[in-house]
């Protein structure tokens, strides 16, 4: 076993220093009835590296992945272009195998990348500051609601039904466990207008929303102000390269899923949660934050984790959250992505998504499908089909397409509705083929 380097001579020499006769003796404090003999567990036998790779390759081949299917499925996780530099950077052992940068003198490299990450996420969202990242978009949103509760004291959380259903399910779980009430308000034609937010700690809206429509954030800000509630926006960072930023509308907290920025879909994990807020709320923010400082005895700049007293290892039960890890490696992937694409590349990706989506809408309309909530969408839209969307989705797989997400399981009465995403990597040819295949399936 190459991962355990002890030779028999090493083991003997070490035991003799310790003054023990055997390794077993070191476990003498474990009651004997609680021990199992080495080698007695019922798990499969060891595989050498060659066989291991062959075995895993065989299992992977059983999946129909998105190199075999053309992906028009989004709903929070997107099939986007990933520059080759991303994998090159995050594979470096100095980053991959580091721990949380508790010792800043040994971790300046990572700390600086997190500072750069915080800057660029703040820029995209138009916010004062960002933390070092969260688990994923869904848990970021739940943490944001709990943060608003901590600031406002109110126990009611109001969320639009046009926010991702999975995010709302996670919100419900988190809120149940600490006794907060979640009120879901209906959207009408893909827009959330009536907030009914009296006595709420916050109102939560998605931008663009789950259906791809662009909510009127100025109106949301006004609704929050009228109710004295905080305004939380769940925003797609790629869309924010083109749309006016949530921060420019006065959002208090903006969160989101960072996966579209350079992270493999990977069945949804690991991904990275983004979390930004106004400066005045910084002491309430969950998770880690990196700050710039300088040497005690010198002038060289350096970076450290800061505002640490909010965190669980110091504040214990009074911490702002129980989160320890950020998603540093995934945040690093997003950092490389944001730099590789830069201002022009990210804008171009966002613009291409809009163009491809508009083209797909026109092709689907030409085969008789209707767009449910209008065409003023960013990169995703709801199309109403003449038959069950699940049935269509399943038939499309045999034609080589992951056609989208059937919405009947999430929204009553939407059994024939399919949520279709068209990213910048879809080509005209693929969209044409998609529409032709859809036409055959609908015939």
């Amino acid at each position: 076993m190459p991962y355990v380097p002890h030779t028999a001579a090493d083991t003997e020499a070490m035991l003799s220093v310790i003054g023990a006769k055997s390794i077993d003796e070191l476990f003498r404090e474990i009651p004997s009835n609680l021990k199992v003999a080495p080698g007695s567990l019922n798990i499969p036998s060891a595989l050498d590296e060659q066989r291991l790779m062959a075995h895993l390759t065989e299992i992977a081949a059983k999946n129909i992945d998105c190199t075999k299917l053309t992906c028009f499925l989004g709903a929070g996780i997107y099939d986007r272009y990933i520059p080759a530099t991303v994998s090159a950077v995050i594979s470096r052992g100095e980053f991959l195998t580091a721990y949380t940068p508790y010792q800043p003198e040994a971790s300046q490299g990572y700390l600086q990348t997190i500072y750069e990450f915080q800057t660029m996420v703040s820029e995209l969202y138009g916010m004062d500051l960002s933390n070092a990242s969260m688990y994923d978009g869904a848990t970021s949103m739940a943490e944001a609601a709990i943060m608003a509760h901590g600031i406002k004291g109110h126990e009611k959380i109001v969320v639009s039904d046009a926010v991702h259903p999975h995010y709302r399910q996670v919100l419900a779980t988190y809120c149940w466990s600490i006794g907060l009430e979640v009120v879901t308000v209906p959207s009408v034609n893909g827009q959330t207008k009536d907030w009914n937010a009296d006595g709420a700690a916050c109102i939560i809206v998605q931008y663009p929303n789950f259906f791809g429509n662009i909510e009127d954030l100025a109106a949301v800000r006004k609704a929050a102000d009228d109710a004295g509630a905080m305004m939380i926006v769940v925003a797609d960072p790629v869309a924010c390269a083109l749309l006016k930023s949530p921060g420019s509308y006065g959002a208090d907290i903006v969160v989101g899923e960072g996966q579209p920025m350079g992270i493999a879909m990977g069945l949804g994990g690991p991904v990275v949660g983004l979390f930004t807020c106004k400066k005045e709320f910084v002491r309430h923010i969950p998770g880690r934050i990196v700050g710039k400082t300088k040497e005690v005895h010198g002038d060289r700049p350096g970076y450290v984790m800061t505002l640490r007293t909010r965190e669980q290892d110091i504040r214990r039960e009074k911490a702002t959250s129980n989160i320890c890890t950020n998603e540093a490696l995934m945040a690093l992937a997003a950092t490389v992505y944001m730099i590789a694409l830069g201002k022009n590349g990210m804008t171009q990706v966002a613009q291409s998504s809009v163009r491809n989506t508009q083209y797909a809408i026109s092709k689907l309309k030409s085969i008789g499908a209707t767009v449910k909530f209008g065409e003023k969408v960013f990169g995703e839209f709801v199309v109403t089909l003449p038959k069950s969307a699940t049935e269509v989705r399943d038939k499309m797989i045999s034609k080589g397409f992951l056609a989208g997400l059937p919405l009947g399981g999430y929204y009553k009465g939407m059994e024939n509705d399919l949520l279709v995403a068209v990213t910048e990597i879809r080509t005209r040819e693929q969209i044409d083929a998609f529409a032709s295949a859809m036409k055959e399936v609908l015939a």
């Binding site: 002491r283 640490r308 007293t309 110091i314 504040r315």
Partner: protein, 125 residues
């Protein structure tokens, strides 16, 4: 050896109190500030809050620790030291002077369990 003024009363959780008429001024001791290290943030109560003896009225943070601070006397918060919002280092540099935290209008008598300087000197080591 830390500075323990003889005209003050103390709690074993390292708060000092100076009573003048029916107003008590409260802060943390020189020993407490030196154990904490550089104070970077002081959380203070709102004026008007009612406190019983032993109630947490705020917290003091250094870079790596945070300590709650407790009311040594019962009463209503009359004033909080706004200077600490921008200059929390006053708790380090002048713990018994400009680093005071709150003033309390007494609603009952001062507890007899508070320590004098000699008694506190035994605790603050």
């Amino acid at each position: 050896m830390s500075n323990i003024p003889s005209d003050l009363k103390y709690m074993k959780s390292h708060e000092w109190v100076r009573v003048e008429g029916d107003v008590a001024t409260v802060g943390i001791t020189d020993f407490a500030q030196s154990e904490l290290g550089d104070v970077v943030y002081v959380e203070l109560p709102t004026v008007g809050k009612m406190l019983a003896v032993g109630d947490t009225f705020g917290s003091v943070e250094s870079v790596k620790t945070v300590s709650d601070v407790y009311a040594p006397v019962p009463g209503e918060v009359l004033e909080v030291n706004q200077d600490l919002v921008t200059s929390s280092e006053l708790v380090n540099s002048d713990p018994y002077g400009h680093g005071w935290m709150i003033k309390i209008r007494l609603t009952a008598s001062v507890p007899t369990t508070l320590m004098n300087a000699d008694e506190y000197g035994v605790v603050a080591v």
